[in-house]
């Protein structure tokens, strides 16, 4: 029962949308009212004691029951009608070049997003929506709050829509893409609706027929729990508890009940939330980009088309070092400042060094195996040198611990910046995504013959910078990098990743 949503015409969202977007509250009120009436009926029939102060009773006594019922019914009908109307008026269209959404009853909005500017397509399935077999599709473009949200669509429709949007964005020709998107549809009609829901709930959050079947990384639940326990948050909790215990020793016991209990509940809530959100984590490469999915009850999965990763950071908090775990975060356009920013910028919540290597390979194609792969290994674990140009010894005045590891290297298409002694990190910036480069120095660095190199990318959790570099080296690298960035930008074709060079030529002739 998949509809072709990308045929260029206007479509409506899933009929259950009004319910999922808050209409459920109305039903609850209706249920409450009906239940009350039922109680009243029983009372009248069996003569239960009368309760003073009951609004229904008061209304009944004053002979206004009819009016009260009418008002309640009227409000409910109005609510239901407005939800229905907003659903009727909320339409979307997938054209060849744009995605458009029209919505709103009193204040109409019409949003258009250019398909070749798409930064990612995410499908979220909150638990409640999953029960209805629906999903929310977020098509994000660069910019603050710049995304087209389609909430909610049927589960299969959402997957098909994503495939179609990405195909249009990739610039591939329709005919050749048809072959790989046409997957054998299971005979859904014969299956009962209950069975279908159960199957959907148990299915992996990536449609196996669309994604590469295997995630390159598997996180055992034990490791996930370990990573949560060994986090900065735990350190904070332990410190807070220690502080509270010492104050309670000094005789201020009343604090304990007021702070510890809510704090404990909040902390446990945080752990459980993080745990269920990252459970069943998977990351896989597909022809249309990297697909990251996770979640147990509410699942989400996000597709990042090629060339949409602006900077990558592989880092290792001190507490994770004995276990040898790493995490990977990225900068991407269109994710900064959003509520879901943390989730959508984390590419690997926790993993071994092999996992980190495999994810890096997905994020920067051609990373492992080659010369660059060796550099990555050096960047992660080496104490100094090994292909990286390090900061000079005099930098230890400014960076007493991390000066040994502070260094850089040039990969084939990326810059690698290494740093951190306590909190080891390696930042990889694809040259084609660099916005600008800065070299700077203050009085202290000038006195030491040092400088600072900063690479600007779109906003995000990763800050690519070298805090201490030899001044001559910095000057040289500034020239070299800025030249390399210009060349990389010129040869970058990832905004239309599947387009053939001859298509490109045809296109530029037209314009």
């Amino acid at each position: 029962m998949t509809h072709d949503l990308a045929d260029g015409g206007w479509h409506r969202l899933h009929p259950a949308t009004p319910l999922l977007r808050g209409g459920i509250v109305l039903i609850a009120i209706l249920g409450f009212v009906v239940a009350n009436f039922r109680e009243r009926l029983i009372d009248w029939l069996f003569g239960a004691p009368e309760l003073p102060g009951d609004p229904l009773q008061t209304a009944y006594e004053r002979g206004q029951l009819g009016w009260a019922a009418l008002v309640v019914a009227g409000l409910l009908l109005l609510g239901i009608a407005s939800f229905f109307l907003s659903w009727r008026l909320h339409t979307f269209r997938i054209g060849d070049d744009v995605v458009e959404v029209r919505s709103g009853v009193l204040f109409r909005t019409h949003r258009r997003a250019r398909i070749d500017r798409i930064q990612g397509v995410a499908i979220d399935r909150p638990f409640f929506a999953r029960l209805f077999g629906t999903a929310r599709v977020d098509i994000s473009v660069a910019g603050q709050d710049a995304k087209v949200q389609l909430a909610y669509l049927g589960g299969a429709d959402a997957d098909a829509l994503r495939g179609e949007v990405l195909r249009l964005a990739s610039g591939a020709r329709a005919a050749e893409a048809q072959v790989d998107t046409a997957h054998p549809s299971p005979p859904g009609e014969r299956e009962g609706i209950v069975n279908q829901r159960v199957r959907e709930l148990l299915a992996p959050e990536l449609d196996p027929s669309l994604a590469a079947p295997e995630s390159v990384v598997k996180i055992p639940p034990g490791r996930l729990i370990g990573s949560l326990v060994l986090s900065g948050f735990t350190v904070m909790v332990v410190l807070a508890v220690a502080l509270l215990l010492t104050t309670s020793m000094l005789g201020r016991r009343e604090f304990l009940a007021f702070i510890v209990l809510p704090g404990l509940v909040a902390a446990i809530g945080y752990y459980v939330n993080r745990f269920t959100k990252t459970l069943r984590y998977s990351i896989a490469g597909t022809p249309d980009g990297i697909r990251v999915g996770s979640g147990l009850l509410s699942t989400n999965n996000d597709t990042l088309p090629p060339g949409r990763v602006h900077a990558i950071e592989v880092s290792q908090p001190l507490l994770w070092r004995p276990a040898g775990w790493w995490m990977i975060r990225i900068n991407r356009a269109g994710a900064a400042g959003e509520a879901t920013a943390q989730a959508s910028t984390t590419m690997l919540p926790v993993g071994t060094i092999d996992d980190a290597r495999r994810v890096l390979e997905l994020l920067v194609p051609g990373m492992a195996g080659s010369e660059t792969g060796r550099l990555v290994d050096a960047g992660l674990t080496a104490r100094r040198g090994e292909g990286f140009t390090d900061a000079p010894r005099r930098a230890r005045l400014l960076r007493p611990f991390s000066w040994r590891r502070t260094g850089f290297a040039r990969g084939e298409a990326a810059l690698l910046l290494r740093g951190g002694f306590v909190w080891r990190r390696l930042v990889v910036v694809p040259l084609a995504r660099v916005q600008s480069i800065r070299v700077s120095q203050g009085p202290v660095r000038r006195g030491l013959g040092l400088a600072e190199l900063t690479v600007h990318t779109v906003a995000g959790p990763v800050r690519p910078e070298l805090a201490v570099v030899d001044r001559e080296v910095a000057r040289e690298q500034f020239e070299e990098w800025s030249a390399a960035v210009v060349i990389a930008i010129d040869s970058d074709r990832s905004h239309r990743w599947a387009e053939r060079p001859d298509d490109e030529r045809g296109r530029s002739d037209e314009t």
């Binding site: 949409r308 120095q441 930008i489």
Partner: protein, 159 residues
């Protein structure tokens, strides 16, 4: 003065009239600093008068260094990117490829407008790029903007 980070012969410098804008803003900063010490003097705290002395020294330094600060601002249009530099104590040089332009702003503050100057802001997708060339004569600012837009158009790139 120590050697510049990037060799300094071919920089296009901003208009010397921009010193006027710098002087006015230094004066305002100095007055605010001095004003902040007044309550302490009124309250009779021991550090009231020394604080005022420090504020005055800072203000005088700001005013005295204004011409050098303005001389340190420069830009250079290379084949594929724009270089921008400023700062004496805290010196920085930024290179932005033309294709990275998202938009260009031309702003004029009240003092700059009186002097016939404008400020050109080159905005990329990275908020931290921060390339703002102040003190351009208005005609030059408009011309530079048009040139930069044309260059960006010919080297159009994705994000």
């Amino acid at each position: 003065m120590a050697a510049a980070l990037i060799s300094g012969q071919e920089w296009s410098r901003v208009s010397p009239r921009y010193v006027g804008v710098e002087l006015v803003s230094s004066l305002i900063t100095g007055l605010v600093l001095c004003g902040a010490t007044v309550p302490f003097i009124v309250l009779g705290t021991w550090f009231g008068w020394p604080a005022l002395a420090v504020a005055i020294v800072v203000a005088v330094l700001l005013l005295a260094l204004a011409p050098r600060r303005v001389r340190a601002i420069g830009y250079r249009m290379r084949d594929d990117d724009l270089l921008f530099t400023r700062g004496i104590m805290f010196q920085r040089v930024v290179a932005v490829p033309y294709g990275r332009m998202q938009l260009i702003d031309v702003n004029r503050g009240p003092v700059a407008r009186a002097l016939g100057l404008a400020e050109l802001k080159f905005v990329t997708a990275a908020a931290s790029t921060g390339v703002t060339i102040p003190g351009l004569p208005e005609a030059e600012a408009a011309e530079l903007r048009d040139r930069l837009v044309a260059l960006a158009e010919s080297r159009r790139a994705g994000l």
